[in-house]
Symmetry: C2
Subunit: 349 residues, 2 copies
């Protein structure tokens, strides 16, 4: 075991602070990674503060990890010393269930091992995330990161990138498709960039007129206000796909009306309370309301390669580790464009 | 114009009674049909009683119509005198919108003409349904009825049959798929028969143990009680597709949990109030909640041919026209196996 520096929450109502963490020595199939950057996802905050329940303290959050390989096990074939690699939302899964065999580890029927606040497949070793200097992960769950992209801006691709890429791919977005994105945060800004790169005609739907400029800069082709009922009426039946990234309570029916016949609306956010959905909003036009969770390892690699090919990264604000508590407050306030990323050198020194 | 005998509701709170109706003389593309049988759909009751609002009195319900061609216009090519034909839920549509061109007249963007309580495409002539001795319909919306089936039992295929066939077909049910049907009424009993004929492994989900025998007789391979929480848990992740025909308020999340990863739940019933759906019920397992409305004309013909090939008809109780008000009460009470069908000879005499 090796002791590494980390930042942890020790209680739901306490700020995060320094913590010494033990990482296992790399086994035959393991890759040891020196972490360079780790993104700050809203899930980190929910979990650190036990807002979803089930947090095991002390918790080390972080599942948008980019780093360099510093050691490999004897049987590792996918990665070499010095490679630039990434770790996303999970670090292992059963490997033998139907979903794992179909490269859908995110839906592992026996429960995958999330990167933090979860258990390894032995069902007893607790996992600790990327707010730390090093991590050790079995090679299958280590992604190759294309070197041509700025690494601090790649980190959020490992969660926000794949979470939006996966449904855009799965529901077959293609050139000319009309795609709308609801919510302009960490997920929303990636959805706009990726959908545009897929050739879609992208509309940002928003309640805030001041976001029009941001949407344009991100590559959205249109910006439409959802607060104007005449405007909403005008858009009836316009979209093939809507990506809804909002996790605050809101009315889904209004968006379902904007779908074409056979259109699909993808939920990525989980509001604590959902407004009532009317069966008629789905029946009249054979519409689909669907959900999607991150993406599998194979698809995450595909997303990283796609982003490298199209020069897509996240828009980030780099912070030092000791700024994390302020960053949490600013994330909650929506005061970030669009992702905080921790420069892990700040933890090493 | 020709005067024909019919049964109409003159007010929401009055029983249906005899009514003389004027039908247009057949135009060049029209088919005049002597109605032999007309099914009694729950929609008839909702509309007769103005439970959905917008009823234009007097109203003549009925959209599950089977009859014989008694006259054709000069340009009619699809049908001949004496042919056995059917009319379903709509009698015309714009014909030029995207959906009409795709054989999805049920989603006509300019508003299709429903068989009753609606307007023809002139947007001013009110339509009157199948509780009458004759009807005149433009040939495209007249279906060929295979003669080998008992006609009184074919009538409900024109609504209940196509409403269940269409989603089973659209979401690609195939041999071995695990399909569950919720609700054993007019729609549910057809869903069981058609899904079984498509080769699916069909489970009837019900709150009532006494329905097990009926489900078996209809061809369901399994019967499972939804009132037993251990039983529900046992079925977690079991089904590829769930057809939900229930229009009373009920919990959708419990059923969504029974879907496999990438499974689909189809809503056919419209509850006045919907229970809250949890985003997590869709996200964990990339599940789809969808709606479907009847089916297009081409698909309705395909369904009739499929039913003839597989010997599928509705289970019906034949009544005379003057029993309609009792039949309405029994339908509301669920006291029918599974569809009342009016023998229209009873109206002619």
């Amino acid at each position: 075991m090796t002791q590494v520096k980390a930042y942890a929450a020790h209680q739901a109502d306490q700020p995060l602070g320094p913590f010494d963490l033990e990482r296992r020595n790399p086994g035959p199939l393991d890759v040891e990674i020196e972490i360079l950057y780790c993104g700050v996802c809203h899930s980190d905050i929910h979990t650190a503060r036990n807002e979803w329940g089930g947090t095991m303290y002390p918790i080390v959050p972080g599942h948008e990890i980019v780093g360099k390989v510093t050691a490999i096990g004897a049987q590792v074939t996918k990665h070499n010393l010095g490679d630039t690699v990434g770790i996303g939302c999970f670090v292992d899964s059963c490997g033998y269930c139907h979903n794992c065999k179909e490269d859908l580890e995110q839906y592992c029927e026996n429960g995958h091992s999330q990167t933090y606040n979860s258990f390894l497949q032995d069902k007893k070793t607790i996992t600790y995330g990327g707010y730390s200097t090093h991590i050790v992960v079995t090679e299958k769950f280590v992604l190759r990161v294309p070197d041509k992209l700025p690494l601090e801006a790649v980190a959020p691709l490992l969660c926000a990138g794949i979470t939006t890429y996966s449904p855009l791919k799965h529901w077959n977005v293609k050139k000319g498709d009309k795609v709308a994105v609801v919510g302009l945060g960490g997920l929303g800004h990636m959805a706009v960039k990726i959908a545009a790169a897929m050739g879609a005609d992208v509309t940002m739907l928003s309640r805030s007129p001041e976001k029009a400029k941001d949407a344009d800069a991100l590559g959205a082709h249109h910006f439409e206000l959802t607060t104007d009922s005449e405007n909403m009426k005008k858009m009836t039946g316009r979209f093939d796909l809507i990506i809804d990234t909002v996790s605050a309570q809101h009315d889904y029916n209004a968006y379902l009306h904007l779908l074409k016949t056979d259109g699909t609306m993808v939920l990525l956010g989980v509001p604590p309370e959902m407004e009532q959905i009317h069966a008629g909003s789905l029946i009249f036009g054979r519409k689909s309301l669907v959900g999607s969770l991150v993406g599998g390892i194979k698809e995450t690699q595909e997303m990283l390669d796609f982003c490298a090919e199209h020069g897509i990264v996240s828009d980030v604000e780099v912070i030092s580790m000791d700024q994390i508590n302020v960053a949490y407050e600013r994330t909650i306030a929506g005061d970030v464009h669009y992702r905080f990323v921790i420069d892990m050198a700040s933890l090493k020194n």
